[in-house]
Symmetry: C2
């Protein structure tokens, strides 16, 4: 047994005018609760420090940049790293990253039990659009405010296992999990902010959105025989509802724990990383079963090429 | 609306001594029922004409070859093609293929509404093992009796849409659906024979096996915005139980119809191929969202390469 007790730290809504210091106070409270639950690792959502600002159309660069962190840890977030170190607890934290040379990414970092950042990930699959879209019920401007991640899908050997990260929409893409699976990943951490209604199809409401969340995460876990920990920022932000449904899925694709609210809520499970071995050595023993000679299109073409009419 | 009414023609068990003529009679009865249901397309399981012979260890080539078809249609299967043509009904049929030059594949064919074979598929992801394994509760010798398919995952424009095929274990691999998704597939047809118990893990019984069947099929459908029709050979063959659970899944990943028995059973649904368009042009608009520069490992390496200890 290689037990890692994980606390999925779902956050309720963060309003547009809520300062980072208030949010960090809520996160520290969840961290205290995680310590009482003897967690080894706490996982916060995507863009955990602010409202989900890509729903707002902005043109002024200064207005945009106020949503980003210029360093990590920053003054506002340092208390999180310090308390995690004090507790001997690893941490996944999603935030908007502004680099010294002015690049913008939707990022996450992984800190080990000493509070040291051991890994960084930048969101590869940016959903939404880049320009104001009057056809949508609300905006989803991730392609406006972020560049696609340029770090790929690395994994890190830390905390006694092999960990990977991804962010929100990445979890719907099987390539995300597979690239990490091909590096032996044992636990994938993913934060998300997912509107409760499809902005382009009002009939697609929270039930179906939660279903797609579970389906994507469970399939990624099963098909790569890995744990997946998916953590929401949830509830009604600035009038716009987002799903909760944070969940911890085992390497058989089964849900072991799931959030019940759309508020700040801790979901804890003791995950045995050795449970990944059976699948990785039998039905998903990649070395014996994969046939890369037939996968060429996956890496060679971005869009579809249907057969001629 | 581009409606294709599909009949998933689940077969109950076929015992080792049951001749093909008897099986074809059962299949014709299902085809008659499909005609009454106004089906445009009937989908039979993997290795639909015989018992699932890879559970038996054999060494004698002549004994092995008796389970294979040397031509398609063959004398035994011609009535299926003739009746399908009479009914103006397309057909997917899984069978063991022995080529004129002595190669063995686990194959399927797709016939259009005139009964003409328009496509052939050879199973790429062969599960199991090649030599007798005394550790298993029962044998699963697909790697002994078949070569991996050499045709890739083509799709065909027929019956008013774009159709693809795969077989059994292929459905657990996201690469299967993605390669077809990258050719604009609108309906994937898959037959299977799945033991109700994991031969290497007796605690994994029919409930979990059905769960993995659904999960794989639903994820493949959702993530490529395609219909998937999955059809079992089910029930107790030669003392060995197999799951049923044949199902028809829509491009949102939702189960629209599912078998209730482990016997011969028809599951019918009118599938609108135009329902694939929304997903293909929004969240799974591959051309806008896929990032192939980060997928390289999927096509470059077969087995995993974990980070150094």
């Amino acid at each position: 047994m290689r037990l890692v007790t994980v606390a999925a730290a779902q956050l309720g809504p963060i309003q547009k005018n809520e300062p980072r210091t208030d949010v960090v106070r809520r996160m520290l409270a969840l961290m205290d609760e995680a310590k009482r639950a003897e967690a080894d690792l706490i996982v916060f959502p995507e863009l955990a420090l602010t409202t989900f600002f890509p729903r707002w159309y902005m043109e002024d660069p200064a207005e945009i940049d106020q949503w980003f962190e210029r360093e990590m840890p920053s003054a506002a977030t340092r208390p999180l790293f310090e308390r995690a170190a004090e507790y001997g607890m690893g941490m996944y934290l999603g935030y908007a990253e502004l680099t010294p040379d002015g690049r913008h990414f939707n990022s996450s970092v992984l800190a080990d039990r000493t509070g040291a950042i051991v890994g960084k990930y930048r969101k590869v699959h940016l959903p939404g659009h880049a320009e104001f879209d009057p056809e949508r019920a609300f905006q989803h401007l991730e392609k406006r405010y972020f560049e696609p991640g340029d770090l790929g899908f690395p994994v890190w050997r830390t905390m006694g296992g092999i960990f990977g990260m991804c962010i929100c929409n990445d979890r719907r893409w099987p390539e995300t999990y597979r690239v990490m699976g091909l590096q032996g990943v044992e636990m994938v951490l993913v934060g998300y902010n997912t509107p409760s209604i499809n902005s382009q199809k009002s009939a697609e409401g929270p039930e179906q959105r939660l279903f797609h969340n579970r389906l994507s995460v469970q399939a990624g876990a099963y098909q790569n025989s890995t744990w997946v920990v998916a953590v929401a920022k949830a509830g009604i932000e600035d009038g716009f509802p987002m799903i909760g449904g944070s969940l911890i899925v085992n390497p058989d694709g089964e849900i072991m724990a799931e959030a019940k609210t759309e508020g700040d809520e801790l979901v804890v499970h003791a995950c045995d990383l050795d449970a990944t071995t059976f699948g990785k050595t039998t039905i998903f023993d990649f070395a014996r079963h994969r046939r890369i000679e037939h996968y060429g299109r996956i890496c060679a073409q971005t869009g579809p090429t249907p057969p001629a009419l």
